[in-house]
């Protein structure tokens, strides 16, 4: 089971069938269903029902009387009242398109049965645990799959399918410093089941490795680097061999299990047919659409373009069955429509889709809680630093000093997305709080530019000694409104320095692979985009600090930054340091170098807007985790605890505590995390 709460709580034993003691009320699910009893169940906040002993009834639905039933009956009266009807019409035009207005106090709220509706604005690409590019695939997948290990909201790894994390102390982690090798051994819990009732065993981990290290693996076989092998020592022992020292060897979040008994024949069949077998294997509906997995839910129906219906997995025995019976994931591509669905309480949970402006309006809507959760998404500007004018440090510093990041935060982000001062999020233990900061200082910027040989006459363009004007092209993602706003501000502010700035929106598909990787970022090009920093927080931000001969190589190679030996040394050391504290201190020093040299311009940290219907309790949005990892704890349909109209007060308080409690980043799926989410879903 996935503990998402404050501490990783290890694994609970599977539960006994039959009735259950809960809040000192003992009841059986099939007790006489008088209205009172059912109401009591609702109010006891213990609507988790255990039906293991009652096979065949697993999917029966609660028909609990709605605590909102009275409002439902009011609806009838209202629709017969003509004047009210006319009044409503007026309101419609008075508050057009304002979702906040949407919370019509008399509106019938759909009866809360046990179907939780989650709104997403993008459809997942695949739900097979080891493939997928989109954040949303990870979010939906997190209801279906349970990996070997996970991280909690404090970014600490804990075992999900295994019994204990390997460490040097318990002997499960073996490190050979001289040869630079290491291996970790995981013991699987016994008796865990896949959805078909077969036991989860070590061969499933080896099978997942086989798939992921296959040369046709869609993400590239090198994805698992530096893992050298994953093997099953016996039915419940997994050994992971690393080719180099790897600080996360005892908690590699990429490790997966795929039910071998079910999938091997399918896999072998496609493989024997040759060609692009991995791709065709993935296109099999048994693989990407209706995967057989081990999470608390499984896909009952996936109507492309419309919704995904998840129902309980009857074989799930990692923990008690979840209280929710069904989860409906609705794809609502238009964000305004999504906000309206939230405000009318037809969508009960959204995470990371709504905009800050929509959040502001929804804050006033009754029955909905809005939270702002720190995300480890660094918005930054990538420059071609191995080419003039950006090869000059003073120019880079001047550009950053000329940006009123606090002003942007105030005007566009309502103060929610603070300026970034490093590539490590302030919530991460490796963050260095003592770094020098680049505040808004246009005069100093002008001075630095003059030192660098760029001067201007009066309001004329900024020119260098040869009389050439400074020209920049700001590249960003077409159709991304917020980014275009930010870029417009950058343009305006840089123009005030006399720099000629042109904006070039580009499609998300092209920005990263084409523009940044294939030398299409012309000299003077500045690309503004988002980097999703991994939870491991050290080794993923290649483009930001390490010219590694891969992705963003073309931007940095041969640059002064490339030549900073101190940076290279610190990174190399950090990569080989297994002790967390020691590694963090190396990274803190590396950040000093980074801020001094400014290889890219950090702009701000994103927050995710989370909307939660009050009837849903137990969901704790967390920076690093996928949506459904804590679904076991969720309850839906219980009476709300927040006062219907005073929710704003609660929100403000809730917001602060959320920020305080969770200054961490959210990852992409630890496996498939990535730079910019490709479809502009970000």
């Amino acid at each position: 089971m996935a503990a998402r709460g404050k501490s990783p709580r290890g694994i609970r034993p599977s539960l006994h069938p039959g009735g259950l003691r809960c809040d000192s009320v003992t009841y059986s699910r099939y007790a006489p269903s008088s209205r009172l009893v059912r109401r009591a169940q609702e109010q006891s906040r213990c609507s988790r029902d255990f039906h293991h002993g009652l096979p065949g009834h697993g999917d029966r639905q609660y028909t609990a009387a709605s605590p909102l039933g009275q409002e439902g009956s009011q609806e009838l009266k209202i629709s017969t009242l003509r004047p009210v009807f006319r009044l409503s019409l007026l309101t419609a035009f008075a508050c057009v398109a304002a979702p906040g207005c949407g919370g019509h106090p008399d509106l019938p709220i759909p009866e809360p049965d046990k179907t939780l509706v989650i709104g997403v604005s993008q459809e997942p690409d695949a739900l097979f645990g080891i493939v997928g590019n989109l954040m949303v695939s990870g979010d939906v997948g997190s209801f279906i799959w349970r990996p070997l290990l996970l991280i909690d909201s404090r970014r600490r790894p804990y075992c999900v399918l295994c019994t204990e994390l390997p460490s040097l102390e318990n002997g499960l982690l073996k490190v050979d410093e001289e040869k630079g090798l290491m291996e970790a051994t995981f013991q699987l819990r016994r008796g865990l089941q896949w959805a078909d009732g077969t036991e989860i065993n070590a061969y499933d981990a080896a099978f997942a490795w086989e798939l992921m290290s296959d040369e046709q693996y869609p993400h590239g076989a090198s994805y698992m680097e530096p893992v050298g092998d994953v093997e099953a020592l016996d039915s419940h022992t997994i050994r992971v061999v690393y080719k180099t020292l790897w600080p996360f060897g005892n908690s590699d979040l990429r490790l997966r299990l795929i039910p071998e008994r079910y999938y091997r024949p399918i896999w072998e069949q496609y493989r024997s047919e040759g060609g692009a077998y991995w791709d065709r294997f993935l296109a099999d509906e048994r693989v990407s659409v209706y995967p057989r997995a081990n999470g608390p839910f499984q896909v009952r129906e996936w109507v492309s373009g419309s919704h995904i219906l998840l129902v309980r997995n009857p074989s799930y025995n990692l923990g008690p069955p979840p209280s929710l019976e069904r989860i409906l994931v609705r794809v609502i591509p238009d964000l305004n429509a999504l906000a309206i669905a939230v405000s009318t309480r037809q969508v009960h949970l959204t995470d990371g889709w709504l905009t800050l402006e929509q959040a502001r309006e929804l804050e006033e809507a009754p029955g909905i809680e809005i939270r702002y959760v720190d995300a480890a998404w660094l918005e930054h500007a990538t420059l071609q630093i191995n080419h003039p004018p950006f090869d000059d440090l003073r120019v880079r510093q001047a550009l950053l000093l000329a940006v009123d990041r606090a002003g942007i935060n105030h005007a566009i982000f309502r103060g929610k997305q603070p300026p970034a001062h490093s590539w490590v999020h302030p919530g991460h233990p490796a963050h260095n709080p003592g770094l020098p900061r680049y505040g808004y200082d246009p005069e100093r910027a002008q001075g630095l530019l003059e030192q660098a040989g760029w001067s201007r006459e009066g309001d004329g363009p900024l020119r260098n000694a040869r009389g050439e004007p400074m020209r920049l092209t700001l590249i960003t993602i077409a159709g991304d409104r917020t980014r275009l706003q930010v870029v417009s501000v950058l343009q305006a502010l840089w123009q005030e320095l006399g720099i000629q700035v042109e904006i070039r929106p580009e499609s998300a598909r092209l920005l990263f692979p084409d523009t940044l990787q294939k030398q299409n970022l012309q000299p003077g090009g500045v690309a503004v985009w988002r980097w999703v920093v991994q939870p491991e927080a050290t080794v993923s931000a290649y483009g930001l600090w390490w010219p590694r001969g891969t992705n963003l190589d073309q931007l940095t190679s041969g640059s002064p930054w490339d030549a900073v030996q101190e940076n290279k040394d610190l990174i190399r050391q950090a990569l080989g340091t297994i002790d967390d504290e020691e590694r963090y201190s190396l990274l803190r020093r590396q950040q000093e170098v980074w801020v001094r040299e400014l290889p890219t311009l950090p702009l701000y940290w994103h927050v995710r807007v989370v909307s939660i219907d009050q009837r849903l309790t137990g969901y704790v949005p967390s920076p690093d985790q996928y949506l459904g990892w804590g679904v076991d704890e969720w309850r839906f349909g219980a009476a709300s605890f927040l006062p219907p109209n005073g929710s704003g007060v609660f929100l403000a308080a809730g917001f602060r505590s959320t920020i305080a409690a969770s200054r961490h980043r959210r990852t992409g799926k630890p496996s498939l995390l990535n730079p910019e989410s490709p479809n502009g879903a970000d």
């Binding site: 609806e75 009807f85 949407g102 695949a126 993400h219 590239g220 296109a283 309206i340 990535n674």
Partner: protein, 318 residues
């Protein structure tokens, strides 16, 4: 007649393939390919590995090789699979096509049913206040972009009045009765038909205006036929002919769906499918869609011709 139809059918086949060639080339010309995104998620990837994967998927073959590979599969009845949705194309397309046709077909029906009487009225009372007023209302419909009117309609009907769900497809509530399902159609159909009613109304109006100036109407009048007979038997019937043709010509376009409406109302239709496939470089999916378009368009054009020949005796003379 049959020979003519047969000839036309034969003519459409090369046209359909011409379309697929054009689409395929255009897609290949656009920068970027499906590999880019997948490999992006791998920070360890090397250029060599990317090349190897591209070779596996046949993405580095010349365009014509890729095209003929696709064609040979299609001829064998295999549309391939979508690289965006990771499933066989045949498992996505029919459903989407049905959803879209239900939406656009219904909208066409509604708008024609509204537009024709209004158009007739406007033509009869040309330059009257009512004529101007109706035109004005119709233009309100045209002037509002759908992404705007759609949201307004959702706000009015589902937020304020609470009559209909704010978007979505009835399949999200299994077991709905006819009326339950119909509620999901109200808002998108309203918006779509509002948008096109105006133009149908204008067509109807000008078509009728044109007909009543024809000599045969004058003749009929001179013969002393009663006004009602002239209007219904002579004017209206003839005025409807171009409208019917136009409707037939519009039908193929219905298949394409309405991207913006489908996005605003979260409708799982063809418009969004095309949009997504094109934006994500899902070649096979896009090609399959265009192939189906081609075939259906050809089919409907034939039907239109038959209908036209049936309605207008002058055609048969040819």
């Amino acid at each position: 007649m049959y020979r003519h139809l047969l000839k036309r059918t034969a003519q459409t086949i090369p046209v359909v393939f011409f379309v697929t060639v054009v689409v395929f080339s255009l897609m290949q010309l656009a920068p970027g390919d499906p590999m880019d995104m997948l490999v992006l998620s791998n920070p360890n990837v090397t250029p060599e590995e990317v090349e190897r994967l591209r070779a596996v998927y046949g993405l580095d073959d010349p365009i014509y090789v890729q095209y003929f590979r696709w064609l040979s599969q299609v001829v064998q009845g295999n549309l391939g699979y979508s690289r965006l949705y990771h499933r066989p194309i045949t498992s996505i397309l029919p459903q989407r096509l049905a959803n879209t046709l239900a939406l656009t077909g219904l909208s066409l029906l509604v708008s024609i049913l509204i537009a024709i009487p209004i158009g007739i009225y406007s033509a009869l009372r040309q330059y009257s206040v009512m004529d101007y007023l109706l035109s004005m209302v119709a233009f309100v419909g045209i002037s509002f972009p759908v992404f705007w009117s759609g949201i307004l309609v959702i706000l009015l009907f589902s937020v304020v009045l609470g009559w209909v769900p704010p978007g979505g497809h009835p399949s999200i509530e299994p077991g709905l009765g006819f009326w339950g399902q119909a509620r999901y159609y109200v808002a998108p159909v309203l918006v779509l038909s509002f948008f096109s009613t105006a133009s149908w109304m204008r067509y109807m109006r000008s078509s009728l205006l044109e007909v009543i100036r024809q000599d045969y109407i004058l003749t009929a009048r001179a013969k002393g036929l009663p006004g009602r007979v002239i209007w219904v038997r002579h004017a209206l019937r003839n005025a409807l002919i171009p409208i019917v043709t136009l409707i037939a010509l519009t039908i193929p376009a219905l298949i394409g769906g309405a991207v913006v409406t489908e996005i605003v109302f979260s409708w799982p239709g063809m418009g969004r499918l095309i949009f997504d496939s094109l934006m994500n470089n899902d070649y096979y999916l896009a090609m399959a869609i265009f192939l189906i378009f081609g075939v259906l368009v050809a089919l409907f054009n034939l039907l239109a011709e038959v209908a036209y020949a049936f309605l207008d005796p002058r055609i048969r003379m040819e």
